[in-house]
């Protein structure tokens, strides 16, 4: 049997795959956080709750309306984006001229309320959500078994990240966003409705979290706690990548997923802390993050 540093190849590949799947979610979630922070200067602590909402909306659609995975992949993120619109218009838009801390506290409180409600209604045990029939089964790659749905998640997350990046770097809307990040008043003086741009940006960020949530439902189950567990790691990812750097968030997300997977193989005891150790090291050496501007 082939081994690498005394580890069997299939075991190694299996952990790398899990790492890559986790990394796909880290990347999508930290991308949304970075987009929101870049434009609104709000550290969106409700991101985990919005991810959880995405998964629950997909589950509701199936359970109460018989609507399956593919339509849910579009509808649930739209639903979460709509929740985002309400949150921005009713709450966040009132605190933009206050210190960043208030945005963090507000969204943190919001996350507690949303997650508390879902825990109250649905308990802490997860609800299963089955893999869409198209992607049941697995590819046998010879050196490893690759479940089809997991392959799909990886491809989908790459597409989502790439599309968002293109939207920001290559479109007029993205140019408005980049310009408004630097000088919102001047952009608005040119005639751009910046308040609406802020609402839209928050909705897109929340929608991305919702989309990640739908994709996660068949992998991790649908549970009120799913956002809490992942959001802390995602914050570490964003800190390591550099607050507000889109590219940094995405690359760091995938890489840290893989690092976590590798740690599970070679030193399992550290696998749940390795990201935070890296975060501490990065903060010591490069406080603005690996991709952040000093």
């Amino acid at each position: 049997m082939v081994t690498v540093f005394g580890i069997s190849l299939p075991a190694l590949m299996g952990q790398l795959l899990i790492g890559l799947i986790n990394g796909s979610f880290y990347a999508m979630l930290s991308l949304g956080l970075a987009v929101i922070f870049g434009m609104l200067r709000v550290i969106n602590f409700a991101h985990g709750a919005q991810y959880m909402l995405g998964a629950f909306f997909a589950w509701f659609l199936l359970r109460y309306a018989g609507i399956g995975f593919w339509p849910a992949l579009v509808l649930a993120p739209l639903g979460v984006a709509l929740v985002g619109v309400v949150i921005e218009k009713v709450l966040l838009s009132r605190i933009y001229n206050l210190d960043h801390l208030y945005g963090l506290l507000l969204t943190f409180g919001l996350a507690l309320v949303i997650e508390g409600l879902f825990r109250h209604w649905y308990g802490t045990s997860g609800q299963p959500y089955s893999i869409p029939s198209t992607f049941q089964g697995a590819f046998n790659l010879g050196f490893m078994i690759l479940p089809k749905y997991r392959a799909f998640v990886i491809v989908a997350s790459v597409i989502v990240c790439l599309t968002t990046w293109l939207l920001i770097e290559k479109t007029k809307f993205g140019a408005y966003l980049r310009a408004a990040t630097e000088n919102p008043t001047l952009v608005q003086a040119f005639g751009v409705n910046v308040p609406r741009l802020l609402t839209l940006t928050y909705a897109i960020g929340a929608g991305l979290a919702g989309l990640a949530g739908v994709l996660a439902a068949p992998v991790y189950q649908v549970s009120p706690l799913m956002g809490q567990n992942i959001v802390i790691i995602v914050f570490a990812v964003v800190v390591i990548g550099g607050m507000g750097s889109i590219m940094g968030a995405v690359v760091t997300g995938y890489v840290l997923g893989l690092v976590e997977g590798l740690t599970k193989v070679f030193y399992p005891e550290a696998s749940s802390t390795v990201i935070f150790v890296i975060m501490v090291l990065v903060l010591l050496v490069r406080p603005a993050g690996l991709f952040g501007k000093e």
Binding site: L186, A189, V194
Partner: protein
């Protein structure tokens, strides 16, 4: 005389608690180039920012083409036909030269086409893919002016376009302003560089301590030189 294009009456403005404009009156007629003179800190920039609506804490009357601008949200003021070139130029570093140029939405028909703009500013055409803030100071100023020519704005608010620029560049900007005048553009110009301003302006206003203290036409300029020397410290 006909109704002025821009009519400002009794304009007051504040930065927080600090009262900076104390009832400024000003008119600009269609096709005119009007220059606002005054020492550093007189309130010229504040006047432009209040007209543009960038400074929100303001009172009085501001009408463009008869339309009241006072109650409009900031993003609707540009659509009344105002184009703004701020004192600090406001070139975006995250955008290329071309993206900077294309950023402001069109607010009316009749703006310059991209070809006309790149013809008027050949340097910008050459460097269209550079990062906006990689340009020299003079090129950034050209970009800041070029950017609002596309929009169809019919009155330009230019805040010290020659500030900190070398004499050759100042001359180029003078050429640009004369070209705009020839096209019938209306311009409200803030200038400290009096020698530059006297070459392009049709009419002058003089500000001091947030008050308008004098106004005269280019023909009356000679007779005002003594008092101007005193207020401006020329």
């Amino acid at each position: 005389m006909t109704e002025p294009l821009l009519q400002v009456k009794g304009l007051q403005a504040w930065y927080g608690e600090s009262h900076v404009l104390h009832g400024v009156d000003l008119q600009v007629h269609r096709g005119e180039t009007v220059t606002l003179l005054g020492r550093n800190g007189a309130g010229k920039t504040t006047t432009l920012k209040s007209i543009m609506g960038v400074l929100r804490k303001r009172q009085g009357e501001i009408r463009l083409n008869g339309k009241d601008l006072m109650g409009l949200p900031l993003h609707q003021i540009a659509y009344a036909g105002l184009g703004f070139v701020p004192e600090e130029r406001g070139i975006f570093s995250g955008l290329s030269v071309h993206e900077n140029l294309m950023l402001p939405p069109k607010v009316a028909d009749g703006g310059f086409t991209l070809d006309e703009i790149y013809h008027l500013f050949p340097n910008l055409a050459e460097r269209r893919n550079s990062q906006g803030t990689k340009l020299s100071g003079g090129e950034q100023q050209m970009l800041a002016i070029a950017r609002i020519l596309r929009t169809g704005a019919n009155i330009l608010l230019l805040d010290e376009p020659t500030e900190g620029l070398a004499p050759v560049i100042v001359q180029r900007i003078g050429d640009v302003i004369r070209a705009l005048k020839a096209k019938g553009m209306t311009i409200l110009l803030v200038e400290q560089n009096f020698r530059f301003a006297r070459k392009v302006a049709d009419r002058f206003y003089v500000m001091e301590d947030g008050h308008m203290i004098d106004t005269f036409t280019a023909d009356e300029l000679e007779g005002r030189m003594d008092s101007l020397n005193e207020t401006l410290g020329l």
